[in-house]
Symmetry: C2
Subunit: 252 residues, 2 copies
């Protein structure tokens, strides 16, 4: 048995997230991949991702790992998977990993991108991957709030109430904002890099930044959310479709 | 009766193009809009676009016009249509037009964008609006070919054989290429502006530029296509999904 990794991209629209569900009627990325793996390796193969993505969340650089016994050259596994997978999930890269590699436990940093556009009316060419917001927020204020979130903090206030995480302390290495020109119209991309994320955390961070940008909340609210874990001080959880797991970094 | 115009954006994926079909089972943009117009104006209303778009072709700035008798303020028509339209077509703007305005006959210039990305493997987050090409073409050669196409030429070689156009002479004001950074990876956008386009012309222009970029055809082939109307000298017709009608310009 050897350990292998895959780098994956998927359009989350038609997936009920990463994790296999008890109800077989719900299509998930994990089940879809494990189905292909079973065909390739002729045996049930458990595939572990760097972390679960929720229903509707996209990925450009999700990483997963599994153990298998095969004579297929590691870099050719991508082709084998892609021949069996549906079009909305693709293996971008495959390879052999160290024996102790685990895509989830070995992950050191992850970067998510959240995509927004500001418009009175919907743009049908953006609606699949981008969330529309009416009006124009104060980007300087959003940036100030983003800076406050960087560093090690207790992000308790930013996670869904039903989170089962042992600790809610996480480090955000960077919360960057970029106004990106796009032929379909400008988009605001919010890039969040951290050592780990609580359930719904990125989506709540973005909702909070927007609230600050539209003066619905103040920088003092953000401060209180971080210092006192005050859930009432954070913004709404933004829709899944704007979120994309960009990359996962490992040591070495 | 007054004349009105609408500026439209649509995701062409699930439409069988602009034009209403005899077979009512095929969903088209025109029929969808005329259905909404019939509800708003309580009478059958014919809607004319700047030009038909083919099945699968997208639009960000399609313009259409119609005559109607209504007390709804012209700028509020957008809201009325959007309340009735499905999510993949939106009215971005509405207004009153001159009595002699016809979205098709009055159009002076149109600009299309064609979106490509260069990758060995599919990117599921690009596949809906962008066409994947393996390998990297010679952009300088493509640019040289693009420059040759600018100006007034007989584009007979660049249109589908079944075109019913009276004349195949058209003027291309600009054929521009831009390598655009995008968070999902770089894209090549080819912008084509002209006074009119033959059936499949933009898609064939892009196919020809790509062939030149990959040395499948030479600049001499492009020259022969333009001067002798030699259909064998042009490239393949590229898929519809990469094409988007960006804007239509009118006089004044």
């Amino acid at each position: 048995m050897s350990v292998y990794y895959l780098v994956l991209a998927y359009d989350g629209t038609a997936f009920n997230g990463w994790q296999a569900q008890r109800r077989a009627t719900l299509r998930t990325v994990q089940e879809t991949l494990e189905g292909a793996a079973a065909e390739i390796f002729h045996t049930k193969t458990k595939i572990t991702a760097s972390g679960r993505t929720d229903a509707g969340v996209h990925a450009l650089g999700q990483v997963c790992s599994f153990s298998a016994r095969t004579t297929i050259p590691p870099e050719k596994l991508a082709e084998c998977f892609n021949a069996l997978l549906p079009a909305d999930v693709r293996v971008l890269e495959s390879g052999r990993a160290a024996e102790n590699f685990d895509a989830c436990r070995s992950a050191k940093r992850k970067t998510y991108a959240y995509s927004l556009y500001f418009s009175r009316r919907e743009n049908p060419l953006k609606e699949r991957y981008c969330v529309r917001v009416s009006g124009t927020p104060d980007f300087e204020k959003m940036l100030a709030a983003a800076k406050m979130l960087e560093g090690e903090h207790d992000f308790k206030a930013f996670c869904a109430a039903d989170s089962s995480a042992k600790t809610t302390v996480r480090t955000l290495y960077a919360v960057r904002m970029e106004r990106e020109r796009c032929f379909t119209g400008e988009e605001l991309r919010i890039y969040v890099t951290g050592n780990g994320f609580l359930y719904n955390m990125v989506r709540t961070v973005v909702g909070t930044l927007l609230d600050v940008g539209f003066s619905g909340r103040s920088l003092a609210d953000v401060e209180r959310a971080l210092s006192a874990g005050d859930r009432a001080a954070v913004g709404r959880t933004m829709p899944a479709k704007g979120l994309c797991l960009l990359s996962v970094e490992y040591e070495g």
